[in-house]
Symmetry: D2
Subunit: 370 residues, 4 copies
């Protein structure tokens, strides 16, 4: 859940829970599909379970929040792949089919869609889990029913006609969870604060400053590794795997006493929950609106130029409940016809939901107004 516990203190469930949960519901999906006459062999079942339990293993500490902060330009899926390759060698090729499914190179395409599509096991699990642990019941979905309604048509994962309302509900629930939880403005503030702490730490580390950090973490702070480095150097993958929230947060706590005023200020804010203040709105922010804050930073705190980026900045967030850019969620009618949910639903304007909603934000540190 990245930084969501800053807002929802109950939401401290882990990636381990999610991986087990996603695998568990994949096994239920398999039962359903088999009962509807679709063959899934024991080998395919094992491969699918492996692929799902490992689908997120390439995520570093704080998941999405720090993607691009610890390692730039290497998507977590690629690291997942590298880790699966290592495991595949250790297990003498037993993960080969799992890897093929994960990469969508396996003939039965619907197996891949169980891992990655707009109605995959990942989403079913995280919506259910996150709404439970945050207490945001807007995100409750009818997971048991959706699983029972899964089917396959033309090698595509589809949903039986009777499940159409459950899918509508799933799309609405996902949209609401984005606004209420994942893109909550305080969560956004905490994520930005964490990202900027890492950015500053990296600047200092690379300019030769000594920073408290475990040796693996220090390695990533002082180098800008590329995907090529990961591919060529298995030890780097192994070091990356050793990183977790402990490395990051122990450092941030220690850095709150660092001599660099930017790093220590941001780190202290993280520890004491003194985060950026965020303002959200539909229109982008103009540079002119930031001027007052910038002047205050310069005059009162002598912070100017490049350094201001750690204290004031703008950005945007986007929320697509359902997108037509990815593969559709398809509904299978009793007469065998298959239709995109956006056109199948006669009532709720799913197509309306399929337009991304963009919001712009302004993020300011407490220095800006104190």
């Amino acid at each position: 859940m990245g930084l969501a516990p800053y807002v929802y203190p109950g939401a401290i469930h882990t990636r381990f829970h999610h991986a087990l949960g996603a695998m568990y519901i994949a096994m239920q999906a398999i039962d359903t599909l088999r009962s509807k006459g679709h063959e899934i062999t024991a080998e395919e079942e094992e491969a699918l379970c492996i692929a799902i339990v490992l689908h997120d293993i390439g995520h570093g500490p704080f998941s999405h929040a720090l993607e691009n902060s610890i390692v730039k330009n290497v998507p977590h899926e690629h690291i997942s792949m590298l880790i699966m390759n290592v495991l595949n060698r250790e297990f003498n090729g037993r993960l080969s089919m799992a890897i093929a499914i994960f990469r969508n190179e396996y003939p039965k395409k619907f197996l891949h869609q169980l891992i990655s599509s707009q109605l995959d096991m990942d989403r079913l699990d995280y919506l259910t889990r996150d709404s439970f642990f945050t207490g945001v019941s807007e995100g409750v979905i009818s997971i048991d029913r959706i699983l029972k309604m899964l089917n396959v048509a033309n090698d595509e994962l589809v949903v039986d006609e009777k499940g159409i309302y459950s899918v509508e509900k799933f799309i609405v629930a996902r949209r609401l969870m984005y606004w209420q939880v994942y893109l909550h403005k305080t969560v956004l503030a905490a994520e930005n604060q964490l990202i900027n702490i890492l950015k500053r730490a990296r600047e200092l580390a690379q300019s030769g400053e000594d920073l408290f950090a475990t040796h693996c973490f220090k390695n990533f702070l002082t180098h800008n590794y590329s995907e090529k480095d990961f591919v060529e150097n298995p030890d780097l993958v192994s070091q990356f795997c050793r990183l977790d929230d402990y490395d990051i947060f122990a450092s941030i706590k220690e850095w709150s006493d660092h001599s660099d005023p930017v790093l220590s200020h941001l780190a202290k804010g993280m520890v004491n929950r003194n985060l950026y203040k965020i303002k959200l709105r539909a229109q982008p922010f103009e540079e002119s609106e930031l001027k007052g804050f910038r002047d205050h930073l310069s005059s009162k705190y002598k912070i100017s130029g490049e350094l201001q980026k750690y204290f004031i900045f703008t950005g945007k967030i986007e929320n697509s409940a359902y997108t037509t850019r990815q593969e559709n969620i398809n509904i299978l009618y009793k007469n065998g016809e298959v239709k995109d949910i956006a056109s199948a639903s006669d009532n709720l304007s799913i197509s309306a939901l399929s337009e991304a909603v963009v919001k712009h934000y302004l993020s300011v540190d407490s220095y800006c107004f104190r």
Copy 2:
């Protein structure tokens, strides 16, 4: 839940549960409103609780399903009023304020809105309760949060801006519960079957046929009481209050051996779950589409003319998630502005949801195709 247990066997919760539940959440709403500075006196609290706990007391057996079957043209709210009046006399006027609130004649209008509006305690309780007992989690709403977000502006019940997503979710949930549960085609079939059994029993009783029934039930079968009769004859109210599902169902079981072939056929169908088959669609059904069934009824079962109405008929159902014909659900912004949810929600097309969806159905007895 009327006849919903024919589809959702867990949904056997009672009106008593619902009345207590609605009163309980009304008390929570009162706490919230008081904490936001709106005065509600101890007398008003008691009156509101009385009004809510009694709001449905005028319902007869099987609630909505038999409204107009046992007593025609007397809405259950009017009978609730008559019962409250009786109680008010028994309690020496202690229900006067409750009655005023119930009739919307009390100065603080928002108290009435807690009982009857598009976001009243009745709906909050029944959605939560019905989704729980049916297991249809599409109907789960964030009831705790909605209650905490209630507020009053200009003597109107409103929802604080922060609760906007919870209200959206509530509207969507209500729409889905209608399609999945309240208007489920088998529920519809069972309700029509029950209504037609009563209609036939009444015909027979009024033509002098002897029918097994408790004496109170028999009284209502053999007479067509009007609202005037209820007002003038307190004993009639009292007899109505004695009726419950036991009276109806014990009779239906007994009638399944009755000599009238229509009554016994329908009653047997009810007992053995051999219900009308329902076909739903967007377009109305033409008389010509029924001809085949009618011919079969006449030729094979010698059922023709007027009697066919018990074996084949059409109808329509309607589902409005949110209607502009009733008072709006209003959102209160931090700046004091109040807006209808339909225009306040920038994302989900609530206005789209506010159009009623109509479906037409054809209902045929098993005789029609066997």
Copy 3:
């Protein structure tokens, strides 16, 4: 739950729910046992499911409460057997194995123990279900874990050593549910009231008095059928099957206006929740303690002699958490040893719990003190 809803209004779940639930957990038990290497064929699985789903089918209305009131001296298990025999004929012998298991005549004894023993699926389901619907969490048991710990040793159902605490908890929970729910004094009062209403109605019916009742119910009121009658007359079984709570309660409501003062008084009490008052204690009640009440009944209400039994009486209830009179609950140790839980548990004195606790009660009608 018999009359428990008089105390726990949520506890209106049905025998249908329980039968499905018991079958469901039996299927889970089968999965566990198979995973531990015990063969259960597909035929045995079906047979077990049939036997469990039908194990209580011979219960009449209000289950245990009216056993011996509607039909005397015919245990419900025998009626279950008769019904299964009827079904077996209808299904051309497909229930033969189920019947053998039910009667404990099937070679694999542990299958019968899943249906009937001190740790059977029946108990696991009803404890879980009843504690849920009453809200009495003292009855919560670790059902998932108990199911996972089931095993078979020497053709006996046993529990793996690791499950010992869960079994202890199950025994304690069952004891507490008896005191808090099944033997709650108001439940006891309502059951006695119902039994006495039936007793009085039967007396009147058999002395030629006309009583409102469905024809099946009337048949059982006016005759004293023996087990032989049931065996010889299949139509009697069929009539018994038609009886349910609707028959009984519609009659009781109607009888509250009956001309017999005993019947109408007791029936009114049942409808208006004016039940016997119960006093519980460890020592039996002496006849001398009842004298004052008896005198009051005679002098004020002219009720004397035999009729007093409807207004004042004593009785006793018994609660054995664990009994050594039935087959033991056995624990299987890792070394293969099998021990009775009463000696296996080193901590909680299960043997202490295995002594039946007896309480005596005095039950008096409101006439006795008004």
Copy 4:
């Protein structure tokens, strides 16, 4: 939950959750006691809430597991007191009443018993919370009912007679949670491993070895602070407060590469879940039983003398469901009599439960048998 997540991965709830939960149920207890006529002023309510929310604040990382490892011979309650004193100064004396209640120096003794007794809010919350997050439903207690049954007699917290079964259940549940969770042998292994890692780190740190650690953690590793130091040096309290699981675990991860073979071996075991193997039994272990292991350690790994204590050792654990050494749980009868639950319960032998059960264990590192 200390190290329990090694066995129950869901049990990662935090002390923050527990503190809020305990305060929440204390507020419910206050409502109940007030409704029974016991005066609790608004000041007392605030004080009680403060005392409860802070009752565990003196716990260091990993709670009980590391008590005596980070700071020796200073009970966490004393540190809680020191922290409350600091806060009391910051808040100009507003915590004085809370401190008096916490120290049992406030006239209304029952307020202290809500914080610390055999039926305090702490236990009610942790049993409920821990059984929920571990999934061990043996620990479920009827918390709502116990809270409603609380009362005060002679300035003592008591339980109304009707709650006697709920208290019995609470005692049994607590006993079972100890065996199933808190004293689970793998939890015990992990705790011992953690304690020994800290012990070794401290030895090394104090002999001048350089160890990776945040500066606060290093301070506690290199010094043996006494309670006197804490009292005299407020900065020490503040440093202690900065410690959390991040400091400990980041170090343990780093130490798994340390040059000291004992430290790195134990730390690696902690990280890779290669923990001590534990054998539990009623009888103490004899030194002679350890000889084979000791010989193996010396001959194969050259580990002998003092250092062996990190690889093989014995200990004992104790579980008292109910103890007569502390204040009793008292039951208040309708006639005003007050009795200890151990004598009040006529059925379950609570007195039997009040004897502590002791188990002895042998703990061996994998080196001992590989």
